[in-house]
Assembly symmetry: C2
Homo-oligomer: 712 residues x 2
Amino acid sequence: MKNSVIYAFILCFMGVATSQTLKSPNGELEMQFSVKENGTPTYSLTYKNQAVIKSSALGFSLKNEEDLLNDFTVSGIDETSYDETWEPVWGEQKEIRNHYNEMAVNLLQKGTNREVIIRFRLFDDGLGFRYEFPQQKNLGHFVIEDEKTEFAMTGDHTAFWIPGDYDTQEYDYTESKLSAIRGLMEGSITENVSQTSFSPTGVQTTLMMKTDDGLYINLHEAALVNYPVMHLNLDDENFVFESWLTPNLEGDKAYMIAPSITPWRTIIVSDDARDILASKMIYNLNEPSKIDDTSWIKPMKYVGVWWEMITGKSTWSYTNDFTAVKLGETDYESATPNGTHGATTEHVKEYIDFAAENGFDGVLVEGWNVGWEDWFGHSKDYVFDFVTPYPDFDVKEIQDYAESKGVEMIMHHETSASVRNYERHLDTAYQFMKEYGYNAVKSGYVGDILPRGENHYSQWLVNHYLYAVKEAADYGIMVNAHEAVRPTGLARTWPNLIANESARGTEYQAFGGSKPNHVTVLPFTRLIGGPMDYTPGIFEMDLSKLNPENNSHVNSTIANQLALYVTMYSPLQMAADLPANYKRFPDAFQFIKDVALDWDESIYLEAEPGDYVTVARKEKGSDNWFLGNVNGETARTSKIKFDFLDKGQKYIATIYSDAKDAHYKTNPQAYEIRKVVVDNKSKLSQFSAPGGGYAISIIPAEKSETKGMKKL
Amino acid sequence: MKNSVIYAFILCFMGVATSQTLKSPNGELEMQFSVKENGTPTYSLTYKNQAVIKSSALGFSLKNEEDLLNDFTVSGIDETSYDETWEPVWGEQKEIRNHYNEMAVNLLQKGTNREVIIRFRLFDDGLGFRYEFPQQKNLGHFVIEDEKTEFAMTGDHTAFWIPGDYDTQEYDYTESKLSAIRGLMEGSITENVSQTSFSPTGVQTTLMMKTDDGLYINLHEAALVNYPVMHLNLDDENFVFESWLTPNLEGDKAYMIAPSITPWRTIIVSDDARDILASKMIYNLNEPSKIDDTSWIKPMKYVGVWWEMITGKSTWSYTNDFTAVKLGETDYESATPNGTHGATTEHVKEYIDFAAENGFDGVLVEGWNVGWEDWFGHSKDYVFDFVTPYPDFDVKEIQDYAESKGVEMIMHHETSASVRNYERHLDTAYQFMKEYGYNAVKSGYVGDILPRGENHYSQWLVNHYLYAVKEAADYGIMVNAHEAVRPTGLARTWPNLIANESARGTEYQAFGGSKPNHVTVLPFTRLIGGPMDYTPGIFEMDLSKLNPENNSHVNSTIANQLALYVTMYSPLQMAADLPANYKRFPDAFQFIKDVALDWDESIYLEAEPGDYVTVARKEKGSDNWFLGNVNGETARTSKIKFDFLDKGQKYIATIYSDAKDAHYKTNPQAYEIRKVVVDNKSKLSQFSAPGGGYAISIIPAEKSETKGMKKL
């Protein structure tokens, strides 16, 4: 931390329900707080004097006691300024500036003599605010029935939304006017193995919007700890969103004990879509790292025994003998192997060889442990033990082999959403990992939650996911949790949370396909809270070639797949396709081998949600740059400047782009690769096909190396 | 195990729905199995040709699939005989004979091609049967909606019952005709901090009954593992009980996976009430010990910092500063002590001194760990961490002091029914215990269960309690679980489960009092499944002398309290009263110091549920005998013979009895102690007051010792 400057002063309270203004450091954002006549606190927000959030109410209804909605008076206001720069353990940039003006409004509910503080932090890129319940006589334990935070929009904006759901975010995004959400809801709720929608106008955060005036507004939350996930429910007559918390199994929202705080409610706003992507406000609203020694946390590029199961080419299960499995009782040793099991020692060694040959850090193996014959759909409690391998998976032999090749094995813990069972085995499972040299785990929460009736995004589960991450930190283990709650910047505090899924990932390309512009939306939504293990790198788009029974098509070009390693920021990147498919396209595969995982700098060059994202990133501790562009459904020519490069330096740029006749559906494997010389005056006009894109590696070069090479 | 003789043969199935008879080894019990015309399996039972159970249906209704109720045909019958003698780790007798004839009926449901086995074991003391679901193609996972096991009574028997309840057994027993249950139900449901009754004719097991013909019938279950507790719901027009399982939070009863088994349903029957008490059928229906080395499991007599809190004389909590506590955040170090905290280092040392001086094995201390200011009633998740002591409780100093005095400290884990929290901390808590030399833990589950909506007796919790016991076994820790499920003989399999509460214990004498005949019923009900930590030994019955605000009266005489150490069999026995009260009655206290904990032999001399129980027990590895009589509400003269003593041997019997004018209410402290010489020809005619009783120690004596001493 450096340049930490803090100014604080306390405003004298005027004694009347008046309004109070807070400005962002550059003055472009202005937040107004006021208390209505009935004592309801409200806020509003403007950007460059344009309304962003109209007057919006704040508060809670409580269970079995008086609500915290009105009858409030302001008993004091504290204002502070803060400016620091901090270094993330991994990330899009080496340093992050955390610069805001803060206003903490102390509210007293007159009738009940209860206190609530609403803390606003106004950054140049947006507003965060949270509720705080200080220690006090008249508020100890309480149960939140509903949070009544409003976000009153100024009009019928265009939104990029997925259906509100207590159990999954694995939906394609719908782009529509707010007024059209209701009509489009039913069609947007596609099938998922665990899902609970709740309202015809309920949507999830991160919610990305664009106004008719060209303002970009992004709603989310930060630092979600021991509190349910916030959804947004739209009053589509007035275009007012209200917070809609995920209930527990009894319908209550949150069990609270004062002193406590809620997560931050966040509004990122700009008239330039690139600023939304560049915003680090969510991380800034989280606490600094609680892990002192972070030297063991390392970005990883990996391959894995996974896509072959996802596509149906091989299986997680070892045998077809059992209709049901009881761990510890079912006899695997004498079972007949089904011949399709993916995680065999021999096959895993092939992946280790491939990883070692191509410079990958790790190999993930799913389906290595007993139980997969009966792991899903029966609300089964003791579904996995996380330590017993199948008879054909030799943990020790594999570990020794991987070590000899300089490759790390990545553990897989599918919990089948049986959370008590996972917590019971967590210590033993982590100990097992360390014993066999595993330093990272991919965990999964597929299916309906046990305890039955709980939801993936309720307080109980939110508490669990962080528990698993904290326990992992004690063991020096990195966590990549799938089907868990979507991130809210907690990786700043727990940087061993290196990735999440928590959105529609590449696997859906094998389950019928995702929209071709999906990856132009995700950076504006899912990635706002933290990195995604999107598992890109698919080269064979016709999945019937892997499994004749799979008719899915991957809606993406190869060039688009390459660009994802740059556009979808994550310290954990998979090359998801089969080694055999990479061997067919060694020139394109070269980019996956070359691309960096951690960055000193990131520059968003072009961005429009649903249409395109172009970003250039400078490799950490290096002068190499990597650039990616992903494109939506319409062919487009991207025009970028290389003025971010060092002046006077020549670079060799290898451009992996769509061929002119490329198309995500009809011609996805048509790509071109060319090498050109670039410097900081170079400009590029580059075609991207529908569902396509391009990727560029930009490596500093000596003059001799560029000799005879074409300049861009 | 010795004299293990097994005969097995398979009966040829006759192909028609016929009936099949099974006799007990001595032929007095006869069970008849048959299948009704609609394919419903049924059983009936006679004792000495008297009907005990009339034809009663067997089966299940299932969720979302065809029931397992009818359409069955018998596909085979296996008959076996078994006779072995085994040695319990602790118990009422050195050896237990397990002798039965078995009939396993293989049933095939024709329409669904599903198989169920009903296994009957007929002992000389009763019948046990269970359902088994073998591994098969057409039955894997299934959910039991209801178990439909019937127990059809032959008439309007007298029953000793407590209200059916999903969360507590802490009720006084009501004695009534079956037909009177409905009318008496409301008045029988007294207040408890967590309770869920379900039917006006629903009662709990162990249910004790007596017919007008003088037959004693006892219904319970054995080996309750990963299945909900069975209650009994009475059709009070036909006097037919039907099993009523405890539901989970969604109303389902049990999640099952074939192959699996249910607990045993048990019917102990005799025309002599003493046989009910002497029966070891419940243990015999459980699996042998799964703990190989049981040398660390030792009966314990203990005192504790407990009754003073129960009576309100001191507090579990350390301070009155906090309205709510957040562990790890609340600052105890700077809190103001409330001056009433019981578990201070200094005070605990007084108990250690008292224990050492009087030969007790252990000292229990409650309220030693942070959190008690805010432990109850708020559905609080993180309520205790089980390792952080209060500032005035020095774990190390206390442990060192206890060790120097040859006394063991007993740990206390109140979970506040927050079960996830307990499981999360279980390993650390057990490790902490071993680090500080604790080998036994009293655990508690006060209040409503978390996960919210679960019940104390649902499958989820039944699974938890055994999990905690198994994990404890791994650490070499003995468990005494309060508010957990009532025992079903599992202590045979897990002998580190040294006791449970799971009934209305002595604490209720401080909460308004229990019925004076309560302890004459418990041996027929609660104790059938295993030992109870009843915490007897109260000498001061007027609790206002301990705490002026406590108006409770202990409905018992001192002689009755002494007898409980013999009549209420448990390897764990507390002397619950304050040391100061024992010091007032050193002669009576002598019996508590002398009485044994573990036995080679037990002889029930007199018994009538609700009226009296008299038992003589021979100390393990010794020739000492101890004898106890507890008496109900009416004064009575007990007449017993000492013919169980060794022939020719003289003994000194010290008789602790009620004075003639003793009475549980008006004169509870009136006792007499006399020493007499007895031999195996002696007879005793001994008065017991209402709510009274007597206790006798019988110690072999040399002739010289008995000189001049009066013979009985």
